[in-house]
Amino acid sequence: MSTTTHDTVAAHDDHHHGAPKGIMRWLLTTNHKDIGSMYLWFSFIMFLTGGAMAMVIRAELFQPGLQLVEPNFFNQMTTVHGLIMVFGAVMPAFTGLANWLIPMMIGAPDMALPRMNNWSFWILPFAFAMLIGSLFMEGGGPNFGWTFYAPLSTTYSPDTTGLFVFSVHIMGISSIMGAINVIVTIVNMRAPGMTWMKLPLFVWTWLITAFLLIAVMPVLAGAVTMVLTDKYFGTSFFDAAGGGDPVMFQHIFWFFGHPEVYIMILPSFGIISAIIPAFSRKRLFGYASMVYATASIAILSFLVWAHHMFTTGMPVFAELFFMYCTMLIAVPTGVKVFNWVATMWRGSMTFETPMLFALAFIILFTIGGFSGLMLAITPADFQYHDTYFVVAHFHYVLVTGAVFSIMAAAYYWLPKWTGHMYSETLGRWHFWCSVISVNVLFFPMHFLGLAGMPRRIPDYAIQFADINQIVSIGGFAFGLSQLIFLAVVIKCIRGGEKAADKPWEGAEGLEWTIASPAPYHSFTTPPEVK
């Protein structure tokens, strides 16, 4: 590196001492903390937007029959709810956490590619503006389910499908850029002495997640491109009349879709692996096995995609292969759960809000894991396929799994981000309201599914009425409970008890060695890790 580069970098830093003011600060920022905050706020706004759509769904399903919305609009709600929650809420929240935390955890001054970081955030609002905007256009928005199976998304889709395709392209480009940034940062910018097996698990899990993103987001981009050309340019990738095959769509989609599931849960494992030891005041049990388990889950995730497609008429051999591979994933996942439990064993535990969410994560995510094992059993899946049992399963792993871990992370690191302690009373209110309502919301869905209620349908047989009413009440309560979280965060930003540099007695990691709130530029000289 030449000396001139050094000089320009130094001048650049001087110029930006403190943050520039106004809207331009946020538009032009390359600071990992600013970008992290924008990601987190964006994700929360999307969480509320997607949540509002879920409220429409639950209001319609409150009673049998059609009362509030047209079936076509109902389909748009289920589709866009799914797309927003996956690509707009969960994934950007993890990217936001990665931006805030990875540089502070590995002792780096910023992300490795700060300008690309700015781009990867700022293209996201446009993607979602396009997606949500299509709902208001003639013919309506996407109504074919977030999985956009052909021919629903090709032959039978609304005219706005092109907008859906381009918005998914943009989301994909954003995620890929974010993933590249994470990998380059972790590989090249670790502080001296921060060896691979000293990395905090959140950093490890994100590194593996980033590789998954680079491997599968382009495949998703390919799938939507094929949908685009099939619909508008006369190709026949998925059209049997032209020699294509609609079942092939499902193979390509789930080749992306199953690793995507782990993209949305591996960073959670990292978060939980930070919080459980902190509030148990013990070191994490089995650090190395956690790293290997994460890597095994990532590799296995490429070998299980067809368990989403057992009913498409696969040969028995393939069904058995995918069934056993799927069940194999329970082994590394079990290693993780047992490690967390072993960490708590004889620890001096306290139950602040982050710990409450982390504990709820372990129990409820495990329930979601077990229903996943039930779904993996091929003959059983023929009954569960496309019922509310599946809906219950993936909401247990994504809401009480991924979302709860994001909440836990927010409470755990809020003092570091804002310099203030959040209100513990309000935090506990948020936790208890959420954990009770979320179970009222999702647990009875298992029964609905076992009794045969199909998913994605705006009406249902009369015998499902009572349970659907309970589910809807749980849904409304869970939705409202999240407003408490908004209040906690705003209150914490505006003021509160001054947070110590290390507000949690048992917390470990470089991020607790810098001041609270974390200064705009941290670790400009790398720390020495022993």
């Binding site: 590196m1 680079i214 491997a215 006369g234 032209g242 020699g243 193979h251 008429g313 696969m314």
Partner: protein, 187 residues
């Protein structure tokens, strides 16, 4: 990007190439899918070209039921039915069957029938020496046609399979043919 340290740029290039490569891999899955289905004889996709009948020994001791089903793509106003719903055949025996198609609309239409065999593992043993599905079927408004099919079941058909169901779905490809038939990358 010029101010990036060398190691960053190298890693960045590799990762971008990886992402571009995976985009290509997504499309490579299309021919790969066809090749795998062909090689493993799965997916119930019978062969798309005529096979030749070479005096196969007829296995008189065994009887296989062959059922015919015909569907018409929704929105296409054709009548399309098999003239016989089921035939009992001996493996190796050359058999004739007919389908009947009538264009009920007032427009000239081109149809394309896509076959599928169930159970999927039986597809590889179902040989057609002549089939209307090898060609497009143009029918003038209100015209009708008898569509021939000549086939034999391979005597190597696994013992576990006693019934083969041949299902045709008829698609309206008039628009595609009109604009020059695009086969798509799938073929």
């Amino acid at each position: 990007m010029t101010t990036q340290p060398k190691s960053n740029r190298k890693l960045l290039t590799m990762l971008i190439l990886g992402a571009v490569g995976m985009f290509g891999f997504g499309f490579a899955l299309v021919p790969l899918y066809d090749v795998l289905c062909d090689a493993l004889g799965i997916n119930g996709k019978p062969q798309g070209t005529a096979s030749t009948y070479e005096a196969v020994i007829v296995d008189e001791s065994r009887t296989v039921t062959v059922e015919f089903i015909a569907h018409v793509q929704s929105g296409m106003s054709w009548e399309f039915i098999p003239t016989v719903n089921r035939i009992e055949v001996h493996p190796g025996q050359l058999t004739h069957a007919k389908f009947y198609a009538k264009n009920l609309s007032s427009k000239d239409t081109v149809g394309q029938a896509i076959p599928s065999v169930s159970p999927g593992q039986g597809a590889a043993y179902f040989n057609k020496t002549e089939c209307f599905c090898f060609n497009q079927q143009p029918l003038a408004a209100s015209a009708s046609a008898e569509l021939p099919l000549i086939f034999y079941v391979d005597p190597d058909l696994p013992e576990s399979i006693n019934t083969l169901t041949l299902s045709y779905t008829l698609y309206d490809i008039t628009a595609k043919v009109g604009g020059g038939l695009k086969q798509g990358a799938a073929k």
